[in-house]
Amino acid sequence: MIKRRSRRVRSVVPNYVVLSLLVVFSLGPLLVLLFNSLKSPGEVGRNPLGLPREGLVWRNYIEAWQQGNYAVTIRNSLVVSLATIGGVCLIAGLAAFALAKLDLPGADALTMYFLVGSSLPVQLFLVPLYFVWARLHLVDNLLGVIIIYWAVYSPFATFLLRSYMVSLPTDFEDAARVDGASEWQVFSRIIVPLTWPGFLTAGLVVGLWAWNEFLFAVTFLHRPEVMTVTTSYYNFAGRYGRDWGLTSAAAIIMILPVVALFLVLQRRFIEGLTEGGLKT
């Protein structure tokens, strides 16, 4: 019996060894970032990769916050992310409901259209869009990028929410319709409360995307007052490139909320980013 077991159960020690090396590769650079964020410029020069040994320079964070204009850019990024989450959840929720629960003629063709459309390069429509937006005064305007994110991220959220709605039994909605509920009431009072985990997942994913987005932000937002954390950080890192303590502290400030939220809600993030993002 013992012999059989030892032959069938394979040692997992080599697994742990390789997996741990991969953790060093994955998290090591982030630790370097954290260490550097607490060093003076002088220490970074003498000791660019190791633990801070000459005292922790917390002042980097205060200075990065001020020099990086974070009071403005974090507010902008929050506005953009929250507006993106709210808008996408509403727009995609309505669309998913129509695709999953209503007799929409051509639903398959529309699904195909959105599937193909969301894999096409942004560069296909970026240039004319820029000049239309310029004419509509939507360049250098947070609303301008928010509208773009609504349009670009809604198909993903629609697919995700549709898969939640399709798996709902129709009993509840049928009962509501018998009682005279309108389709809007069916959607808002029955479908949304029953599929809220889908909305949470979709919201977290598009919120993350909006927070980290770079191409549209760098194209459409130029003035410092309307910059988001990504484009502002890009400029900041260019300007203070030599002071690694400062650029590292600024980086930590902008990734901290994201990483913290990810660690708390990682199951939802991973579900949304893998299943939803890949298996549309």
């Binding site: 998290l27 990769l49 669309a95 296909l124 429509f125 049928d174 191409l215």
Partner: protein
């Protein structure tokens, strides 16, 4: 029977489903479809982005084909595709394969590999710009300790810039694939592994004959997506080198950006963007064809 029929009369109004679709369709037409169609038109003009556009026939495409920068950019996209079809896929499979049989710590490892994926590209780029710095990074440190051949200005040399950027992009991407492949592997019937072990299969045989067939749909899907995304890559290249030095790391997406907003050649930029779409369309066409043939992807 009654419950099935009772909702029917309410659906007489055929307008209602379209009302629910109206916001997404309107946005799509304004932001994506309309400008995309305009782009197709502008690709045949000498538009600068302002003022009148004059039709110039196929001039933009003729210029594209003979332009060394375009050819370099396209080659770099192909190199990028080759790198990302192999390196992260190998690392993703390796990580997932090692993670699948362990119980203790699985969630920790999965989280650790996934974290770089949720961090903004501008930050990841800055992290590696420091670590690979030619004067203060890991290269000089290794040189002091007897390994001089890694002491190179990775992003500043024409021969290494593209690969250095690909390395950074891969660092944030491979962990995502670990999680995707792990989920697929966990859906494989455990009895198949049991049977393989009773037959005396070693680790490689187990992977080759049980795991790989089991995750095939997921694997093929990620490969196809890799092809599509490899023609879209922008962030890491723009942030780290802006396509330089001397266009050594130029790709089609950065060329569109430079042409439109740097040189004000919006018509030419539209043509390059259109060509990107054709390459992506090819990837999508393969995907759709395979799906029609009954591949579960």
């Amino acid at each position: 029977m009654i419950t099935r029929q009772s909702p029917q009369p309410r659906r007489r109004n055929r307008l209602v489903p379209w009302l629910f679709m109206a916001p997404i369709l309107t946005l799509n037409v304004v932001v994506i479809l309309g400008p995309s169609l305009a782009s197709i038109y502008y690709a045949f003009t000498d538009w600068t982005g302002m003022g009148q556009a004059r039709l110039v026939g196929l001039a933009n495409f003729a210029r594209m084909v003979s332009d060394p920068v375009y050819r370099l950019a396209l080659m770099n996209n192909l190199r990028w595709t080759a790198i990302f079809l192999t390196v992260p896929v190998f690392m993703g499979l390796l990580g997932a394969m090692l993670l699948a049989p362990i119980k203790r710590g699985q969630i920790f490892f999965r989280t650790a590999y996934f974290v770089p994926y949720v961090i903004a590209s501008v930050v990841n780029a800055q992290i590696w710009r420091c670590i690979l710095h030619p004067l203060k990074g890991i290269g000089p440190w290794l040189a002091q300790h007897g390994i001089p051949w890694l002491n190179v200005a990775w992003f500043g040399r024409e021969s290494t810039a593209l690969y250095a950027i690909a390395f950074v992009d891969n660092w944030h991407w491979w962990g995502f694939l670990v999680v995707v492949y792990l989920a697929a592997m966990q859906a494989v019937d455990p009895q198949l592994y049991e049977a393989a072990r009773l037959e005396g299969a070693n680790r490689w045989q187990e992977f080759r004959y049980v795991t790989l067939p089991g995750i095939r749909p997921t694997l093929i899907f990620t490969l196809l997506m890799t092809v599509i995304w490899s023609f879209l890559v922008f962030d890491y290249i723009y942030v780290l080198t802006e396509g330089g030095p001397a266009h050594a790391s130029e790709v089609l997406a950065t060329e569109v950006f430079n042409a439109a907003f740097g040189r004000f050649e919006a018509g030419y930029a539209a043509a390059v963007g259109l060509s990107m779409s054709l390459f992506c369309g090819l990837g999508i066409a393969i995907f759709v064809t395979l799906r029609r043939r009954g591949w579960e992807i």
